[in-house]
Assembly symmetry: C2
């Protein structure tokens, strides 16, 4: 009896962004594990066992997935977006490193997906068209001082900055601190993309400037993209804007 | 007669990584434009017109796509990976900004895809599991000094670094300069992922250390991921390694 574990990226939400590889893995799995919100997106099948868990329980969920695969089950562990970007893949290898040797012999594969920043960017144009970075704004697993250091260095480098997990009920003040820092370092007119629930029925997308964005309106489901001084707006005939970062984006002034 | 333009991400190569949305757009298009290598991946249909162009002609290709849509055609402009990451989407909005006003009224959408770094990372574990950046190593559109500045700041920030377009026949020396810089800034043991032709029949993946990587073997089809001092290897039962960047990756020592 040999089990297997597929660490599956669901993409940002809708089926149109789910890869055929991920859909196949979900169709074959005997056990599907994930944060309840993501599990709810996977089509239900009678003969499949579902293991929903809370957002915070990543390591115990990873261990459970490895245990089930070691018992010979065909297991899918799901993440929103791409499993390798601030999601379950790293948690699995962390659990493996601290776990029984047998876990290192398992048939495991990571199935990539469309990560949130790519879908958010696509909705508004090409804000990630130049060099960019992705920062997890949560300080659950790293000191806040490191987040601020990375933001400052990213601005100095002229990177477009994609901010994942920008706010949560447990961390209501950090997004304000992050904006205070960005406002000291970047021009007031720098374009900001706020993309909430991208691709889902309640999607809400806004293009604002750094000085007009209200950080209090940013929540856990929002993906933020902070442009550079070179990022540009192109007005459409309907009065809304496209936003893009030129490929030749240069050094900040 | 109203045309439309879809800027389509094909993913890194195989159909298993092509989103249903992208597949639909390709199936509907009357005209398909792209770099010849990417066009070759799109299933051929008799009633579709193909417009292959050279790698370097991004702006003229973008203009041609906009012109065709303005003539009322249903146009797909394809990119490998995601169109918003060092690909055609930024070129389209750049062309639009300098083009006739009518282009700003066109029905345009960017269809996201699995970008190369996500697929490369998935093949080896979760090297992008911590904060990371993506840098286009080509200096066709920016000075090399800026590339070096960004590499140095990225290392200082403790970012994992994904390097796109690391080498080409026209730029044979830069990858050597980039490695010389990285070797001054990072420990010799830092994990490096070399992922060539990910997902395609001639795929070749290696996990090496910074001191043992031979930059002369890096070519245009290679995606490079440079770990941080916190990036870890986990030995598998078969002797090969998984590589991952811990979610709590801290400040470089």
């Amino acid at each position: 009896m040999s089990g297997r574990l597929r660490i599956v990226g669901l993409g940002p939400g809708p089926e149109k962004w789910l890869t055929p590889e991920a859909a196949d893995a979900l169709a074959q799995a005997q056990d599907v594990l994930g944060y309840a919100t993501y599990l709810a997106r996977v089509p239900i099948r009678e003969d499949q066992t579902r293991h929903a868990s809370d957002n915070r329980e990543e390591i115990s969920r990873a261990r459970r997935a490895l245990e089930l695969a070691a018992e010979g089950r065909d297991v899918a562990l799901v993440s929103g977006g791409d499993p390798g970007v601030f999601a379950m893949a790293a948690a699995v290898f962390e659990a493996m490193e601290d776990g029984p040797a047998a876990w290192r012999a398992l048939d495991i594969a990571v199935l990539p997906g469309v990560t949130a920043m790519l879908a958010a960017a696509a909705r508004v144009g090409a804000p990630l068209g130049a060099d960019f970075c992705a920062i997890n704004l949560s300080d659950n697993l790293k000191p806040w001082s490191l987040v601020e250091k990375r933001l400052a260095l990213a601005v100095e480098a002229g990177f477009v900055v994609a901010l994942y997990n920008p706010a949560s009920k447990a961390r209501p003040t950090q997004i304000h601190d992050a904006f205070a820092l960005l406002r000291r370092l970047l021009p007031a007119s720098t374009p900001i993309v706020l993309a909430r629930a991208v691709g889902r029925p309640d999607e809400r997308i806004a293009i604002e400037t750094l000085d007009e964005t209200d950080p209090a309106l940013v929540d856990m489901q929002t993906m933020l993209i902070v442009g550079t001084p070179a990022t540009r707006l192109v007005k459409r005939a309907d009065g809304t804007n496209w936003v893009y970062s030129p490929r030749r984006a240069g050094v900040p002034a």
